[in-house]
Symmetry: none
Subunit: 192 residues, 2 copies
DNA sequence: ATTATTTTTAGTACCTAGTCTTAACATTAA
DNA sequence: TTAATGTTAAGACTAGGTACTAAAAATAAT
């Protein structure tokens, strides 16, 4: 049974909204009208052609993935920070953090979170990692929320070195630990 | 100046990975070759045509097709690889790798390069970092080319653990060194 | 230097999924 | 019946390709 123009156009709009990758030919068959009718309908409804629709879907998603590229100064979100004492950050493991094969987080992301937290906790303009001793104690999977806790465990000495201990957890289970020896540019003099 | 076929194809792949919406015509102009050459290149590299690329971006399959070829799996460019023996990669420090204040490379990028090289040198489907002992011996600045050299220094034992030593250099000067204890899924049996 | 091989360019026919235009029908309403 | 609206068809054109054949140009091998 053939639909009225009104109903057909309404359904057409709905169909394309739901399945934007449908061709005019498929729509023509679906509504038992000619391709030309579908094209007139699209024109009246200002619905772009298939390729344009695909492209717009692609660019929307592309923009999002491209936007997600710039690297932050701190990996993960800092939720607590007591300069020269302790700091906590949370990193939620996203698809881009894991091996595609097995969804296990790549080690350097855990390291990056811990390292940047160690940098952040140092109350200095310039803090650099000199040495690190780290352990990956458990695999971290996609969607895990990694809580990294940094603790300054040694008062800065005259050489400008500070030791920061970072332990990372997923659901209270330790997944990573590291001892970071940090260099600070200006020696610690207790000023602000 | 015209590039060699090798370099052109390498750059082509990189260009399409970065800007998948580029047409053959634009690529032909960019590399000063004919459209046919671009098409032969794409064929040899198994890169699908523009519309298929757009479609795959739209359906979010892009990561599986071209983007995540070998490039994103390894930080830096691998220039030598002898499985279970040694590997070398080069990472050029870009603005996104450095602290904005002082243009010094953030430690985790050097770690990422070394760690992913350690993963790559292991001849196994699944290689994970269990432990790492690392040293940052010199500051690395923007535009530095960091050459990381990995060496498997211990034959895999029955626990599925392998130790990889990675040393990174800028202009022959050591900037980073690390000892990575790697876990491999299947025990090494000397086959193949 | 002269083959041989690889690489590049050119040209043709064909494809999809459209566009835009004109024209012929079909259906419905006054 | 005529006019308006709706539908279908036909033709010419487009982008961005594929697939194939063939020739020219550059490079390597003997």
């Amino acid at each position: 049974m053939r639909l009225s123009k009104d109903k057909r156009q309404h359904l057409l709009q709905e169909t394309i909204r739901k399945t934007p990758f449908v061709t005019d030919e498929e729509l023509a068959k679906k509504f038992s009208v000619s391709i030309q009718t579908i094209r007139l309908d699209r024109m009246e409804l200002s619905i772009p052609e298939l390729r344009e629709r695909i492209k717009s879907v692609a660019t929307n998603q592309w923009n999002e993935t491209v936007k997600a590229l710039p690297i932050d100064e701190v990996i993960g979100e800092i939720i607590d920070l007591q300069l020269d004492e302790r700091a906590i950050s949370i990193l939620e493991i996203q698809p881009e953090h894991v091996f595609s094969r097995n969804k296990i987080a790549r080690g350097h992301h855990l390291f990056a979170q811990a390292n940047s937290l160690a940098v952040a906790v140092i109350d200095d303009e310039l803090a650099l990692t000199v040495k690190a001793n780290i352990n990956f104690t458990q695999q971290v999977k996609e969607k895990d929320r990694v809580v990294a806790k940094a603790k300054v465990i040694q008062e800065p000495n005259d050489k400008g070195l500070t030791v920061v201990e970072v332990k990372s957890y997923v659901n209270q289970k330790k997944v990573f630990s590291g001892l970071f020896t940090m260099y600070r540019s200006t020696e610690y003099k207790g000023e602000n």
